[in-house]
């Protein structure tokens, strides 16, 4: 090996070191500890005083009706949010994808809720959703009355609470997906669009046969990221309903949080976190498989 190669290797490691150290300290090491704790009876107050319990945490979690319910709530939330948010974001992106000033301004408007802190929005929407209480009535109930719908207890009626949170979440997250789609749209080859126009394709045909195939990877990326973000549901239900009514909005992350800080059962909390990690990793792998097919 020549000295130049040896030297450039050393330089390479020097450049890699900051990222590797940060990833090691803040990702790899905590992950490893959590994985180890998940096989022990670790107590939050004395985590080093634990002993090996094999897969008993996993067995306990998987047979717990509360875990199944939190998993079901989270999955249902993702099923409501992902298709709607992605589709609406795509349509909005088509609409605002113009260079003129008003459209750029509109893009910023749709992006505002993404920037505002979620707890602030959660408090605002709790007020918007307020049910009729004596003389008090939330703005959403006033609005639906115009449509002839009787006022609802949006956040405290068991079948309505999760859809109400999903609706608010779609509104909040829409801007991010829209921006990614706008970036994707600007990458669609102009020649293809012009060629299809000359061939007589109308706007709808151009979207279906040119834009969507060209944006395949963007669409898969948006759907995957939206699914992962939806699976991480926590702040909205924790602040708006505390997981109620009847545990109908208790999410997987809330369960991890409560196992860690309320019952202080660190081993069990880590087991749930590991199961959650597996779920997210599986989604990411699926995305990689689908999007690489396109490139080959």
């Amino acid at each position: 090996m020549t000295t130049t190669i040896r030297h450039s290797r050393r330089v390479a490691w020097a450049f890699l070191a900051p990222a590797l150290i940060l990833l090691g300290v803040f990702v790899a090491w905590p992950l490893l500890r959590a994985a180890i704790w998940s096989f022990t009876n670790a107590d939050l107050l004395a985590p080093n005083d634990s002993h090996w319990t094999g897969v008993s945490n996993y067995a306990d979690v998987l047979t717990d009706p509360q875990f199944r319910r939190a998993f079901g709530n989270t999955a249902l939330f993702a099923l409501m949010v992902v298709p709607v948010q992605s589709a609406v974001a795509f349509v909005l992106a088509l609409w605002v994808n113009r260079p003129e000033h008003p459209w750029r301004w509109l893009r910023a408007v749709f992006f505002v809720p993404v920037v505002v802190s979620m707890p602030v929005l959660a408090v605002l929407w709790t007020m918007l959703y307020q049910p009729v209480q004596g003389s008090e009535n939330g703005l959403i109930n006033v609005a639906v009355r115009w449509l002839g719908i009787p006022p609802q207890a949006w956040l405290s009626d068991p079948p309505l609470a999760l859809p109400a949170i999903a609706f608010m979440s779609v509104w909040q997250g829409l801007g991010l997906q829209m921006m990614v789609f706008v970036a994707g749209l600007q990458g669609v080859p102009r020649v293809l669009l012009e060629a299809s126009r000359i061939d007589g394709a109308n706007a709808f045909q151009r979207v279906v046969h040119v834009v969507i195939p060209a944006m395949r990877n963007t669409i898969i990326f948006v759907i995957t990221v939206t699914t992962i973000l939806a699976a991480r549901l926590f702040v909205q239900p924790y602040l708006m309903t505390r997981g109620g009514p009847g545990n109908r909005t208790r999410s997987l992350i809330q369960l991890i949080y409560e196992n860690t800080f309320v019952s202080q059962d660190l081993g069990r909390a880590c087991a749930i976190a590991m199961l959650f990690l597996g779920l997210v990793a599986a989604l990411t792998l699926l995305q990689r498989r689908w999007s690489t097919e396109e490139r080959t």
Binding site: D43, L45, A46, D60, D64, P65, Q66, M127, Q130, P131, Q133, G134, E136, A153, L155, S156, L239, R242, G243, G244, P245, G246, N247, E258, V262, S263, Q264, D265, R268
Partner: protein
């Protein structure tokens, strides 16, 4: 605190305080800090929850109140609510929008106790058959009536409807005494919380301090604890600042307001009818799941089924550590 004692993280304090000193503390402070006969924690201040009322509204609605220090039975309380409701005023603020889970267990456990129920078994290890007992189902069904009859809001937005003149009564703590005295003046009245059975119970409890087992100098920590719980040097400046109730009898001499209502009732309750919340290592889970059940019950959930669900959730956590 019970959790810290269970994890063997606290020193007993008995060696650092004489029995004469301890007798000066309110009985609730000692009871809360004591586990298996040993004192592990002491505080400088206490708390109270009472039923504040607006005399003008009561007079207009024809509501009469029991003698000083006496409480309403539940049917008497509901009938007072009905009379006020008839006048078109919201009868009582229960602060169901409180974001802290602790409010629910703290403010409404006295009803469970006065209905001859318990939250957890005496050994602090069993909720099955205790939390969803027939007594508690009866008590919380009666409590649910407040919401069914629209006497109290399940989802209020205003944090102080009573102070804003929008409700006739306020089921609230000592921390509202000063604002209410300022807002209502002579119109302010105060009663102990209504009772389900023969005896009225009051909530109590506040922040407290203990000494960590890892401490290399527990005697210095104890010296600090003696200073912070000293009537003149610790309690008086703290209570002047935070408006809580002094934890020691000798400290009341520094606060003239405790000679009359509403403050006199706070002390009276702590001396006679207050009961501390259960001291169990599983308290954090117990209070959180019980609070979730109370929220659902207020919104019309089936009382027995909801309490049984809370029982199962809490018992599962207890059984994992036994």
């Amino acid at each position: 605190m019970a959790r810290l004692v269970d994890a063997k993280l606290l020193y007993p304090l008995n060696a650092w305080f004489t029995s004469a000193e301890l007798e000066d503390f309110l009985p609730t402070v000692l009871e809360q800090g004591t586990i298996d006969g040993r004192l592990y924690a002491l505080g400088a201040f206490e708390s109270a929850v009472v039923l504040y009322f607006n005399r003008d509204v009561f007079n207009a609605a024809g509501v009469t109140t029991p003698a000083t220090g006496q409480s309403w039975s539940w049917p008497e309380f509901l009938s007072a609510c009905a009379k006020v409701r008839h006048q078109g005023i919201e009868p009582v603020a229960l602060h169901m929008n409180e974001s802290a889970d602790e409010w629910f267990t703290y403010a409404f456990s006295p009803l469970v106790w006065s209905g001859e129920g318990r939250l957890i078994s005496t050994d602090g290890k069993r909720v099955s058959g205790v939390l969803a007992s027939p007594e508690n189902v009866r008590t919380l069904t009666a409590w649910q009536q407040l919401f069914r009859l629209e006497f109290a809001a399940t989802d209020p937005v205003d944090p102080d409807p009573f102070g804003h003149g929008r409700s006739a009564m306020d089921w609230s703590g000592h921390w509202m005494a000063r604002p209410h005295v300022t807002d209502l003046g002579d119109k302010l009245g105060v009663l102990p919380l209504p009772r389900m059975g023969d005896k009225s119970f009051a909530p109590c409890g506040s922040w407290c301090w203990g000494i960590a087992r890892q401490s290399k100098h527990p005697e210095l920590a104890a010296l600090w604890l003696q200073w912070v719980t000293d009537s003149e040097h610790g309690i008086v400046p703290i209570v002047r600042a935070n408006g809580a109730i002094p934890a020691r009898r000798s400290a009341f001499a520094f606060f003239a307001e405790y000679a009359h209502a509403p403050y006199a009732l706070f002390r009276d309750q702590l001396e006679r009818s207050a009961r501390p919340r259960p001291r169990t290592p599983y308290y954090a889970t117990l209070t959180q799941r019980f609070a979730a059940a109370l929220r659902d019950i207020a919104r019309g959930a089936d009382v027995e089924r909801r309490l049984q669900e809370a029982e199962r959730e809490i018992q599962r956590v207890i059984d994992r550590r036994n």
